[in-house]
């Protein structure tokens, strides 16, 4: 007998439905519906009281109309009336209507809640079931307020029927999900745990769902569920397939319950040894069963079996403690990767992704790389390909990064549009994270822009610039590569942006080559200018003014361009303003001022990669974070990189045009920084305003210290609370250093006391003077401290900057070395080859020479090396050394008491990747110290 007897429906409803179905057009259908709505409305409004049957019929029609996609704005009251009917069918349709067409009218809700309350109290299991269903379907906060206290009682009451218990458990779960704060924990919790032992498997399944969710928030309270769940699972797994009768599904015993129990166990760490042994047995049995021949050819059989298997594997991965099981799981998934069922391949790729992050199985996962790459190339389904991309990303490490990045890049050419942006982000992250060789990194990113320029988000190209600026060793190569890439007749606008920015900073490194002389560089960029959007043009204008500083020989050409009507009278206010200001700046300012204003960008503070942040946003936090946590081995130096440069949007409002250059001016979405107090302060302001992101551990201050040997400005220290920026200038034996302390939090720092500490013997060599700063630093604010420096005589050690303050209730103490080094008091000396060798010979006393032979830490690039020697402070003497590969320099160290002449010679050995550095000065300690300082730089 069919359970639904087709005959006892409502005639009027059937007629109405067939009318609708007979409608030939959308218009006819709407007409018929409007007619019916009018009819129902008049019936509801009519004086005659409708009987239950008619109400039920009309409500049902409204429901049908609603499901067809039309709005229903009446009938709720009639439906609510049906709730209080004693007839089951009427009550039922009333609840259905309410569940589907929820209405937030408060008067109505009061009535509904009343009806539900009555039904819950009715002790009639059918009515209680309907009421519980309705609460769960609506699941609103009002419902939770009204019933969160009542439902647990029904759930654990001794006399409640199984089917009602089942509904009550899920109803409670629903309320807990929407309004966890309204569901009180209490006596009932321990009794709920014991439902895991219930006779009725339906009750157990519902209870397991409930407990799983509750346990995630209150693990202590439900701890006892672990052993109960394990024994229940064990009974199911080891049972003969007929034992569970109705709950055996296609020869698999209680698959849903098994899955739920395995999920519940994933809320907890591996259990105590006794329980653990039993659980391991279960998991092994499940893995073994996977290898048995199937008991049925039906897909349902394998689905159910594998659902349990996948969940077991998830649990194994979650525990991440049994290498043996992990490897077995990995092998099992490896089999599925080649399975003919697409669903299984999909799930295997997905599970393997989590497996890749376990240290026990990471290597085992990597063995499947070829299969996964093949999946990327041959799978017909984009969902599966997407999983393959995810897995490749997860299994990537230093050993296979080049292969994986290459495969992803080649896939990108044909990839579905929907996933391109994500692949671009992934490639960018992997390239950065595993770059051993930054030339490879730069090549990869430029390829990325070439292949999928439209999908390269701002974060990606900001990032490549940040890295190039922070890594001296790649700057020359980057300049050369972008220059070559820009030669292409059609190149993506993002490439123009990267090219413009990099050449503006480092174009000088390749300007020696006549093929990329300043004028050639400028003409190349300017040939793209007219094809670009306004933000890119604005960026290029900044590049031009930087060129004016780098290459005085193209100054007039650039001034002509700036002066042209298309710039000076440009309709876009930003472009016009830049043109006017830059033109003026280039005319008025002396070379010194230009050089200061347009100085090379200081290194970016190390922060979490903005690309990673973006990917997290795209994928939801969980997926990416797990990966990160477990793959911490990687280079903190690159990984915790800087945020994008927030652009200061208008040059007009800022006192110094250097601010404008710092901002790329091309990022309209970037937040505007706090109003700068002075041109100098701005340098750091620009960095600190996006500090809302939680910064990873600041890199060791020693690394930072070394970075300042050849540079004067940048960020010296940064942690979650505090950022310290420096800007300094030196002349002869005097110097001045501006220290900027930025409070990155929103809370005040109190008793803020920075102190300069000179070790005893340093005090007589170095004279430091400063004034105390205001002891209160407001949240988000920055204070500045000026240190006047006098070098009395040569010195070795560096002063220490100690900062103490109270933040929240806690006392903070930070110490960093202040990068005041002997070479800062260098004055470059130009001299001829003859002079040089004459002096060199004069300093031949063995105490005067110090030599160091060391391995290159960075790629050996001529241009970068030159830049560093100049940054070090000595003059770089060309055509002095007979071997053109060698570098020689000369300068004078100024101290208050004496001046010390210094000569240096650096001999690179490319084959051995070694350097020999020789210093000759008139004073042994000076030779020694300078040699130490300079050796760290290559």
């Amino acid at each position: 007998m069919p359970a639904v007897s087709k005959g006892d429906g409502m005639r009027g409803l059937a007629v109405f439905i067939s009318d609708i179905r007979n409608c030939k057009s959308k218009e006819a259908e709407i007409k018929r519906i409007n007619k019916e709505l009018a009819n129902i409305r008049s019936k509801f409004k009519g004086d005659k009281a409708l009987d239950g049957y008619s109400k039920k019929k009309y409500v049902c029609k409204l429901l049908f109309i609603f499901l067809l996609g039309h709005d229903i704005d009446f009938g709720h009251m009639e439906a609510v009336n049906l709730l209080s009917s004693n007839r089951y069918t009427e009550k039922q349709i009333g609840y259905l209507f309410i569940s589907v067409l929820v209405n937030s009218n408060s008067e109505l809700i009061r009535l509904i809640n009343n009806a539900i309350k009555n039904d819950l109290a009715s002790r009639n299991p059918t009515f209680m079931g309907l009421a519980l269903h309705c609460i769960a379907n609506v699941g609103s906060r009002e419902m939770a307020e009204a019933f969160a206290g009542e439902v647990p009682k029904i759930l654990v009451a001794g006399d409640t029927m199984d089917s009602v218990k089942q509904s009550a458990a899920l109803c409670l779960l629903r309320l807990y999900r929407t309004s966890p704060d309204l569901v009180p924990m209490g006596d009932w919790t321990s009794r709920v745990v014991h439902l895991l032992n219930d006779q009725h498997l339906g009750v157990v399944t519902a209870a397991t769902s409930l407990i799983t969710t509750l346990a995630q928030k209150n693990p202590e309270e439900f701890k006892t569920s672990v052993s109960l769940a394990v024994s229940r699972l064990s009974r199911i797994v080891t049972s003969a397939s007929t034992d569970l009768q109705d709950y055996t599904y296609y020869f698999v015993p209680a698959p849903w319950l098994s899955v739920k129990l395995l999920r519940l166990l994933q809320c907890y760490p591996p259990p105590d040894p006794a329980v653990r042994g039993r659980l391991t047995e279960c998991l092994e049995t499940i893995l073994n069963k996977a290898q048995e021949p199937p008991k049925s050819k039906k897909v349902q059989h394998s689905n159910a079996k594998n659902a349990v298997l996948f969940e077991a594997i998830s649990l194994i991965i979650h525990h991440d403690s049994e290498p043996n099981l992990l490897v077995r799981a990995c092998n099992q998934l490896g089999q599925f990767l080649q399975h003919r069922e697409t669903n299984l391949r999909y799930l295997a790729l997905e599970s393997m992704c989590t497996l890749a992050s376990s240290e026990f199985s990471h290597e085992a996962v990597k063995t499947h790389i070829d299969t996964v790459i093949n999946a990327l190339k041959t799978e017909r389904d984009v969902s599966v390909r997407q999983r393959a991309v995810d897995l490749l990303y997860a299994m990537c490490d230093r050993s296979n990064a080049q292969q994986i990045v290459a495969e992803m890049l080649s896939y990108l050419e044909t990839a579905d549009y929907s996933i391109r942006e994500e692949i671009v982000l992934k490639v960018a992250i992997l390239a950065e994270k595993y770059a051993v060789d930054y030339a490879w990194y730069v090549d990869t990113i430029l390829n990325l822009i070439r292949i999928a320029g439209d999908y390269v988000s701002e974060e990606v190209w900001y990032r490549v610039i940040q890295i190039v600026i922070n890594r001296d060793d790649v700057q020359g190569y980057a300049a050369k590569t972008v220059f070559e890439a820009l030669q292409a007749p059609a190149c993506h606008e993002n490439l123009v942006k990267v090219g413009g920015y990099i050449l503006g900073e480092f174009g000088n490194l390749i300007a020696g080559d006549p093929r990329s002389s300043p004028l050639v560089q400028f003409n190349l960029l300017h040939s793209k200018f007219h094809l670009c959007s306004v933000p890119t043009r604005a960026l290029l204008l900044s590049t031009y003014i930087k060129f004016v500083n780098l290459f005085p020989e193209v100054k007039t050409t650039i001034q002509d361009v700036l002066r042209s009507d298309s710039q000076l009278k440009n309709a876009d206010v930003e472009l016009q303003q830049r043109a006017v200001e830059y033109l003026r700046l280039s005319t008025v300012a002396s070379t010194d001022i230009l050089a200061t204003v347009l100085e090379e960008m200081p290194p970016f503070p190390e922060r979490e990669s903005s690309i990673l942040a973006k990917l997290k946003k795209k994928k939801g936090p969980s997926t990416v974070t797990d990966l990160e946590d477990t793959k911490r081995e990687r280079s903190v130096d690159v990984n915790g990189g800087p945020e994008p440069v927030p652009a200061s949007t208008s040059a007009a409002s800022t006192p110094s045009p250097s601010a404008d250059l710092l901002g790329l001016g091309a990022a309209p979405a970037a937040p505007a920084g706090p109003p700068p107090s002075s041109g100098g302060g701005l340098l750091v302001d620009v960095f600190s305003d996006s500090a809302s992101a939680v910064a990873p551990l600041a890199p060791g201050s020693e690394d930072n210290f070394a970075r300042f040997v050849c540079k004067n400005n940048g960020v010296l220290f940064e942690n979650q609370l505090l950022q310290i920026g420096l800007k300094s200038e030196f002349r002869q034996n005097l110097g001045r250093m501006f220290i900027f302390y930025g409070n990155k939090t929103s809370t005040q720092f109190l008793n803020f006391t920075p102190a300069l500490i000179c070790p005893d013997d340093l005090q007589s060599h170095l004279n430091l003077q400063t004034k105390p700063v205001d002891p209160t630093v407001d949240g988000g604010a920055q204070v500045q401290q000026v240190v006047n420096i006098e070098c009395v005589s040569d010195f070795t050690e560096a002063p220490v900057l100690n900062i103490q303050f109270r933040y929240g209730g806690t006392f903070q103490n930070v110490s960093v070395q202040l990068p005041i080094t002997l070479n800062k008091f260098f004055q470059p000396t130009e001299m001829s080859s003859q002079d040089f060798f004459q002096r060199w010979k004069q300093l031949s006393n063995p105490q005067q020479e110090v030599q160091n032979i060391f391995k290159a830490k960075h790629p050996m690039d001529t241009e970068i090396t030159k830049a560093k020697i100049i940054g070090f402070g000595s003059a770089l003497l060309e055509e002095v050394d007979p071997n053109p590969a060698n570098f020689v320099g000369a300068g004078i160290i100024h101290t208050k008491t004496t001046q010390i002449g210094c000569l240096l010679r650096l001999e690179p050995n490319l084959q051995a990747q070694m350097y020999r550095l020789t210093l000759r000065t008139s004073k042994e300690t000076v030779s020694q110290r300078l040699c130490e300082l300079l050796s760290q730089q290559f």
């Binding site: 409502m10 259905l96 569940s99």
Partner: protein, 167 residues
């Protein structure tokens, strides 16, 4: 808004071949990457469930199978027209399987027993409404030849409003 989701879901599912996988990341349409569309295709009907990551994908595929087998038992050889003309019944059956978006019962016999119990209640109350039986089956026969494609949409309409709560 619901209609929009239904329509887009339908188009997403419709253009997929039978031999590709039954899981679909719906993205923004269904509320983000934590949610998946899981569907099964039976003749002219698609059954689509939208689930979050707390459910096992294969488990849901089986659940759809259970739902369909249950419909088949309750209606005896279920066809689209049964679902259209008895959308209330379909909802009742679905409610026995899924409640407020959560899996309630997976044992088919249990579900059928519940529905039969409902039926008996209905019978005991419904002396009046037994008459139109013949009319309905007549209508059903008349309409059979022209099972139009948009029946699929009709079917999805019935299912999704409930299942979009599958949170």
């Amino acid at each position: 808004e619901i209609q929009q989701i239904v329509r887009e879901t339908f188009h997403l599912v419709l253009k997929r071949d039978d031999n590709i996988c039954n899981f679909l990341e719906g993205g923004s349409l269904i509320g983000g990457s934590d949610y998946k569309l899981i569907y099964r295709h039976y003749a002219t009907l698609y059954f689509v469930f939208c689930v979050d990551s707390s459910e096992s994908e294969l488990g849901i595929l089986d659940l759809i199978q259970v739902f369909v087998e249950t419909l088949d038992k309750c209606f005896e050889n279920v066809c689209e027209l049964d679902l259209i003309f008895h959308m209330d019944k379909v909802h009742y059956i679905l409610q026995e399987v899924v409640m407020g978006g959560m899996v309630l019962e997976t044992n088919m016999n249990e579900i059928v027993a519940q529905i039969e119990a409902q039926n008996r209640l209905e019978k005991s109350e419904g002396g009046l409404s037994a008459a139109p039986a013949r009319a309905v089956s007549a209508v059903k026969n008349i309409n059979l030849p022209e099972i139009p494609r948009n029946i699929n949409i009709g079917d999805l309409n019935i299912k999704v409003p409930n299942l979009s709560q599958f949170v």
